[in-house]
């Protein structure tokens, strides 16, 4: 079957889709967007988390045919998504702030490596993950970023328990989550500073 939908603001068309394919498979194997990760394909790990019509979901549990006409934001579109949110003066709650600049102004010491991809525009949560050491193997990272960005959009001042609850659907095997907590706190703090 054919599926038409919007990914990261761009209309996309996938042809010859087998009816049993997941949104995750279509993104990764048909649209060249492998950022959403295939760690469990059973909704248990959150590494494939995307926004579907604004709502974080496991893309492995969405049948390809279900996204016809819908809007999807993946980790590849997260920076743009955050930027648009900033330009529009905030999210649904109107208090999400202009955190991007603040986050990018804060360059931690020693970051000037030729491979850090300087110049890439990042969402505040992405920058915070790098700065806080929340990335090791990085396989859980895209899903965590999408989930954490969504939480900060809805809840700009989360408690630690709020963060843990919001990210309880995202497994990480490398970090022990402590640096992930640091990263989300950091992003929230920068967001607060920028408002």
């Amino acid at each position: 079957m054919r599926v038409n939908f919007t990914v990261n603001g761009r209309p996309q068309e996938a042809d010859d889709v087998w009816e049993g394919e997941s949104l995750l498979y279509v993104l990764r194997e048909r649209l060249g967007l492998p950022g959403s990760k295939n760690a469990c394909e059973q909704g248990e790990c959150g590494s494939c988390t995307v926004r579907l019509d604004g709502v974080p979901v496991c893309s492995c549990l969405v049948a390809a045919g279900q996204v016809e006409g819908r809007e999807v934001v993946t980790v590849e579109g997260l920076a743009d998504h955050a930027k648009r949110r900033t330009e529009q003066g905030g999210c649904g709650t109107g208090s999400c702030g202009t955190s991007l600049d603040a986050a990018q102004r804060r360059q931690p010491p020693g970051a000037a490596d030729s491979h850090t991809g300087e110049g890439t525009e990042l969402a505040p949560i992405q920058q915070a993950f790098i700065d806080a050491g929340a990335v090791q193997c990085g396989f859980c990272t895209p899903g965590l970023l999408v989930a954490a960005d969504d939480m900060l959009e809805r809840n700009p001042n989360p408690t630690d328990a709020d963060i843990r609850e919001a990210l309880s659907g995202n497994l990480c095997r490398c970090t022990g989550y402590e640096k992930i907590m640091d990263a989300v706190r950091l992003a929230a703090a920068r967001q607060g500073e920028a408002v």
């Binding site: 087998w18 990042l122 050491g133 090791q136 990085g138 990272t141 990480c172």
Partner: protein, 799 residues
């Protein structure tokens, strides 16, 4: 010993490059960070090639059976199927592989020995076509009795898992179903027992843990015009893979070109081959690129696990608390194929006494061949199982003597100079007592932290979490301590080396260093550290890290906590050689302009050649000019030697790593649910090359230990040897709500034998985390708890 005032050791002082920004000791950020947060970092499962086919593996549905017949006709006839291969289609006589013993069939031949063993492979134009084709392959099995434990493995009439063994351990084992046996005998246990005022014994059971790395086994094999193949793969050791793959394909090693893809975690589970050979076989057969990606179900069958173990321990102590002796027997279940079982035996045995000074020791350790899932490397590698047992024993013994559990450990803690049961002296700082002191001195988390301001209970902070099982009822707090010892690097005489190619040249008017190694970056941050070392050693700001591949010499495995030591050491060494050449170049060009070129100690700092007094002699840009200086060199740590097969004596290990934990738990004693409130860790790292990464390693390792303690176990049916929970629904790993705060106290006492004095970091925290949590649960419940993981049944008497 408590109250001791002698210095424990000192950190290394680094002169060269100490003024260069972004060098060792700084928390520089990951060079791959941006790619990883934007989704652009290409993991092995992200590989894509035009016209590529999808590979699928048909696995055995039974654990032990003869294969009567395989019929692939229907599968081959399916439209979209390009190839179906079985054992008979293998191109050469080399049809087995294995890390130490080549006992693992590429595809099953006449017999399957464990549940989920590869039997046939398919290539098709869509994963669903490949799955349908695999389902159409008809395999007729004739079931054989399953061997699942020591009794069934070593029975006189037991079926041999492997006939006609000729491997290097086959001569000294008591039964062909024993992979390897290593006794460690020192002193006289019988005599020492006479001196003991207290003797405690225990039998401990350690469950099978899965690495559960998030990036599934996957890769892409692309056939090349020269008849060779290019393989993009996630592995822990490219050259080890290559050595096993090429002979099966019948290709010389230079025609199997391997490039490291992004690795989604490893933890030991990528030491053995998974889909590498299968993808190459299908690519060479079809002439098309072939991608294979396991799903999570298959991943549970696609790699070896941590050995489950039965450990029987007897310790004695005098009434003033000094350990008298240890007698222990450790039985590891290696499953159907050897993998690294023999080396795991060596580790479990030689480290089986833990970080304690005990003169009289008798340890016997074996690994079995059974029909259970094959087991091999996982973070901690044999030392984890032993630590679980000896730390439970230390608590029991302290209680028997009537001493504080931490003080008892400190009294018996090894220190620099202590002899291990192998007779090897610990010849670097061993701050075991100090780590325990530090971890105990950390402030305790407040009681009843789950009470909210409104005096209601925040269930997220209680045992059971969001499941709303208690609002405080039945909740009891417990505290436990543990400490462990892990060897760093490959042991027992293994030629453990690494290779680094370092080049220095001027690019865009700036001196740039390029580092090329075959080191597997699996998330640990080796790439970060290599850049730091190059900056420190070469005084440059810009460092390029080349992708790892087989176009450079072996880096050895990303395991045994060894990469920063060994490949880090190789990078340092190659940098030093480059530095010498650069200085030589400088002397030739500019030596006559300043006497210091000949007389002073020269350093490279901030892109310049300077004297140790700080005087600038030349810009590196001018020294290098158009030339590039390149060195590729191997570097090895000091040699070790095998353990004596009868006594276990020998200089077997190159370095040790120590960590201690304090666990604070709250247990819902009625429902048997556990919430770990805090897991504090103190660890000696020798020298923290990148403090941020080191703390991340410690916290990650700690959490994997927590998983063993309270939830993780691959459950194998003892009647059928089939895996009962191969999914993330039923194999649970800790979520962020299960994981507590993990305060880390990092100690830096240099090991003078190691580059910069550093110690391998990654594994030690996984050792002591588990027994600390168990001790805390015992403390809360008063139960003996001799098995991991602790399940609600064990805490409620409903097993």
């Amino acid at each position: 010993m408590p109250g001791r005032s002698a210095p424990l050791g000192t950190p290394t002082k680094v002169t060269q490059g100490s003024k260069t920004k972004g060098g060792i000791g700084e928390s520089t950020l990951r060079p791959d960070g941006t790619l990883k947060v934007t989704g652009e970092f290409a993991y092995s499962s992200d590989m894509w090639h035009e016209d590529m086919l999808w590979g699928q593996i048909l696995r055995s549905t039974t654990a032990h059976a003869e294969i009567v017949s395989i019929d692939t006709a229907e599968a081959l006839a399916l439209p979209g199927v390009y190839a179906v291969m079985t054992y008979d289609d293998l191109p050469t006589d080399v049809r087995n592989y294995g890390l130490e013993i080549q006992d693992t069939p590429v595809l099953a031949h006449g017999r399957v020995r464990h549940h989920g063993e590869p039997v046939a492979i398919v290539a098709a134009d869509h994963p669903e076509t490949a799955r349908r084709a695999a389902a159409k392959i008809k395999v007729e099995y004739r079931d054989l009795p399953v061997i699942t434990d020591e009794a069934s493995a070593t029975a006189p009439d037991a079926i041999l898992i492997h006939d006609n063994r000729t491997d290097r351990h086959s001569g000294h084992v008591d039964h062909p179903n024993i992979v390897h046996r290593q006794p460690i005998v020192r002193g006289n246990v019988e005599a020492a027992r006479e001196r003991a005022d207290f003797v405690v014994t225990g039998e401990y059971t350690f469950g099978m843990q899965d690495q559960a790395f998030l990036g599934p086994e996957s890769g892409l094999a692309v056939p090349a015009e020269d008849g060779g193949v290019d393989l993009y793969i996630a592995t822990q050791w490219l050259h080890s893979d290559l050595r096993q793959i090429a002979p099966v394909l019948g290709l010389p090693e230079d025609k199997v070109r391997m490039t490291m893809s992004g690795v989604g975690g490893a933890f030991g589970g990528r030491e053995d081959l998974s889909m590498q050979i299968h993808a190459c076989l299908l690519a060479l057969r079809t002439g098309k690129p072939v991608k294979i990606v396991y799903n999570r179900f298959e991943s549970f069958f696609g790699h070896v696990h941590r050995h489950p173990a039965k450990l029987t321990y007897e310790h004695g102590a005098t009434k003033d608390g000094k350990l008298t002796h240890l007698k222990a027997r450790i039985v590891l279940d290696g499953g159907a194929y050897a993998s690294t079982s023999a080396a795991v035996v060596g580790n479990a045995a030689s480290l089986g006494a833990g970080p304690y000074a005990i003169d009289d020791v008798d340890i016997d350790c074996v690994a079995l061949y059974t029909n259970n899932p094959p087991c091999g490397a996982m973070r901690g590698f044999g030392a984890v199982q032993a630590c679980f047992a000896y730390e439970a024993q230390m608590d029991k013994l302290a209680d028997a003597v009537g001493m504080d559990r931490v003080e008892f450990r400190r009294l018996n803690a090894m220190e620099q100079g202590t002899l291990l049961p192998t007779g090897q002296a610990v010849d670097s700082p061993a701050p075991v007592a100090e780590l325990l002191r530090r971890v105990k001195a950390m402030p305790l988390p407040p009681e009843r932290q789950w009470l909210t301001a409104g005096e209601a209970a925040d269930v997220r902070q209680l045992p059971g979490g969001l499941s709303n099982t208690t609002h405080g009822e039945g909740v009891v707090r417990g505290i436990g301590y543990a400490v462990g010892i892990k060897n760093v690097g490959f042991s027992e005489g293994f030629d453990d080396y690494s290779t680094a190619r370092v080049r220095m040249e001027v690019v865009g008017g700036e001196p740039v260093a390029t580092v090329h190694t075959a080191m597997a970056e699996v998330g640990q941050g080796g790439v970060t550290v290599h850049a730091q070392i190059a900056r420190t050693e070469l005084g440059v700001a810009q460092v390029t890290i080349q992708p790892a591949d087989t176009q450079v010499g072996s880096a050895g495995s990303t395991s045994a906590s060894r990469q920063t030591y060994v490949t880090g050491g190789a990078v340092k060494n190659s940098c030093e050689l480059v530095r010498e050449k650069v200085l030589e170049l400088g002397r030739r060009k500019f030596g006559s302009y300043h006497p210091a070129w000949a007389t002073a100690e020269l350093l490279l700092e901030g892109g310049k050649v300077v004297t140790d007094a700080g005087e600038v002699l030349a810009d590196l840009v001018d020294v290098l000019g158009d030339e590039s200086v390149e060195v590729e060199a191997e570097w090895r740590h000091r040699p070790t030697e095998p353990f004596d097969l009868r006594t276990g004596q020998g200089f077997g290990h190159v370095q040790y790593s120590f960590a201690a934990h304090r666990a604070v738990v709250e247990v819902d004693t009625e429902l048997g649910l556990v919430k770990v409130i805090e897991l504090a860790c103190a660890q000696d790292v020798g020298k923290a090359l990148n403090p941020l990464s080191i703390v991340g390693q410690i916290q990650g390792g700690t959490t994997q230990g927590l998983g063993i303690a309270v939830m993780e176990e691959i459950v194998v049916d003892p009647k059928t040897a089939k895996v009962r929970n191969p999914s993330f629904t039923d194999y649970l790993i800790p979520t962020i709500l299960d994981t507590p705060t993990i305060p880390v106290d990092v100690l830096e006492l240099a090991d003078d034998h190691a580059p910069y004095g550093l110690r391998g970091v990654g594994e030690a925290p996984t050792l002591s985390s588990t027994p600390a949590v168990l001790a805390a649960i015992r403390n809360a419940t008063g139960l003996e708890l001799a098995k991991t993981p602790v399940r609600p049944e064990h805490l409620t008497g409903t097993g």
